[in-house]
């Protein structure tokens, strides 16, 4: 009896020393997290900045504040990876380097990521409980982004002018030009205007109005309740226009802003959750992004909709 007890004790001792050595060895691999300059930091009221600092800055700024327990591998490895991808996706220290419209869009997206429970990351808040936003903090943030919403004014002449310009006859119409191609190889699909309307949205966050068209496969999938997941071959085209308001509160679409596609092919687009993304901006249909990596931004924003096959739009019953 005593002998077995002794034997298991030595056994335990041996295992723990092996683990201890392993743990020490792990500390030798310590990829650096460099805190660098924050000279273009977000400008916001102090209460807003305090919330972002407390909940987001560890991963989304150049001033990561690691606690001692974050510094221990293997936890540290995950922290370092999060900081690296987090900063790449969104960096409050380099905020002002973005055009003002993008700054606002990223703030609206941030609030939506928080509402969806996607940010701050769960794996982080398990340890950093203080980073979870209180309902009061979320209310403050919502009110702040709402104050940034595009303000429409009746008879906005500058918007009218842009729309009028787009209506002028063009030297070369699109049919004669080569169709633009997105960085990931997806070409502009001109036929979407003849597809069925799946839904429409009033985007008061950025002052646009949108229509979402679906191809035949999408329309059939809605009819047959096969939208989660959507079948391969589904294509959505979401078009955005400026909102033009008249004195009576009537709003009609002004200038064409962009068209975005989501193309379902679970094999071809496996690396972007089964969807091929593309966005063509302005009436000149300029492909969005500088490299094929632009799609990471699409996926990051759509990820909170993972239980609805990454689609925000609720199609209207047809």
């Amino acid at each position: 009896m005593n002998q077995t007890k002794n034997r298991s004790r030595t056994y335990l001792l041996r295992i723990s020393s092996v683990l201890a050595v392993l743990l020490i060895a792990m500390q030798l691999y310590h990829p650096a997290i460099n805190n660098s300059k924050a000279d273009a930091e977000i400008q916001a009221p102090p209460e807003i900045k305090a919330i972002l600092k407390n909940a987001c800055y560890d991963c989304h700024s150049n001033t990561t504040d690691l606690r001692w327990y974050d510094q221990i591998a293997p936890v540290y490895w995950q922290v370092a990876a999060h900081v690296q991808t987090g900063r790449k996706a969104l960096n409050f220290s380099q905020w002002q380097n973005m055009p003002s419209a993008d700054q606002k869009a990223k703030l609206w997206e941030s609030v939506n990521q928080i509402i969806a429970g996607a940010m701050p990351l769960k794996s982080y808040t398990i340890i950093h409980r203080q980073a979870v936003l209180t309902p009061a903090e979320l209310t403050v943030l919502k009110a702040y982004v709402s104050s940034l919403a595009a303000k429409s004014k009746p008879g906005d002449t500058s918007k009218l002018k842009v729309a009028d310009n787009q209506l002028k006859p063009k030297k070369k119409d699109l049919a004669q030009k080569k169709l633009p191609v997105e960085m990931n190889g997806i070409a502009y699909l001109p036929d979407y205007k003849n597809w069925q309307v799946i839904s429409t949205t009033d985007r008061f966050d950025n002052g646009t109005m949108r229509v979402i068209f679906g191809n035949d496969i999408a329309v059939k999938a809605v009819k047959e309740n096969r939208t989660n997941p959507w079948p391969d071959g589904t294509i959505f085209a979401k078009v955005a226009w400026d909102q033009l308001e008249d004195a009576k509160g009537n709003i009609t679409p002004g200038a064409f802003k962009q068209v975005e596609y989501m193309i379902k092919d679970h094999q071809k687009y496996a690396s972007t959750n089964g969807w091929g993304f593309a966005r063509f901006k302005t009436e000149n249909l300029i492909p969005y992004g500088k490299t094929a990596l632009f799609a990471a931004e699409c996926i990051n924003c759509h990820r909170p909709m993972k239980d609805a096959d990454f689609v925000f739009t609720q199609p209207i019953r047809n």
């Binding site: 609206w108 609030v111 939506n112 509402i115 969806a116 429970g117 919502k142 982004v145 919403a149 729309a163 787009q166 209506l167 699109l174 205007k193 003849n194 069925q196 309307v197 839904s199 429409t200 949205t201 009033d202 985007r203 008061f204 966050d205 950025n206 109005m209 229509v211 068209f213 809605v222 309740n225 939208t227 989660n228 997941p229 959507w230 078009v239 226009w241 308001e245 009576k248 509160g249 009537n250 709003i251 009609t252 679409p253 002004g254 200038a255 064409f256 009436e283 000149n284 909170p304 909709m305 993972k306 239980d307 609805a308 096959d309 925000f312 609720q314 199609p315 209207i316 019953r317 047809n318």
Partner: protein
Amino acid sequence: MKRFIISVATCVLALNACRDNTGKTGFINERAALPESLKSLTVNQKFTTSAMNKTAGTMSVLYAGKGNLTLVTWKKKGDENWFGANVPDSLLTVEVLHSPYPGSAHVELYNCFDHNGQLMKQDSLAEITRIGYISSLKPSIFP
């Protein structure tokens, strides 16, 4: 020990209960659907433009085809998937203008249906206002 096991079990249960509560399923917007009897007015018809009215809190889509202009109007509601957007809520009306000569100002018939597909009675002044409004909508710009 027993108490420990119970508390661990409770935690696991609690954690699982909270998981993915935020995730939305692939719901279809049923409230915004057109009644069966009116669907042919929009299916395979050409999208022309969209519109909204700030004071009425409505949003609409205009279709053209078969000598008809069809304006579908919904009440709007906050998008549950995106703070910063409104989407169609319940269907309010489906209005149909029939013009024998497409593109002309001459309107032969104006009909307004409610969300059940029932023809609604309207006084002639309201009718004239609506015909004027619908005829004034210009096609959306596409490059």
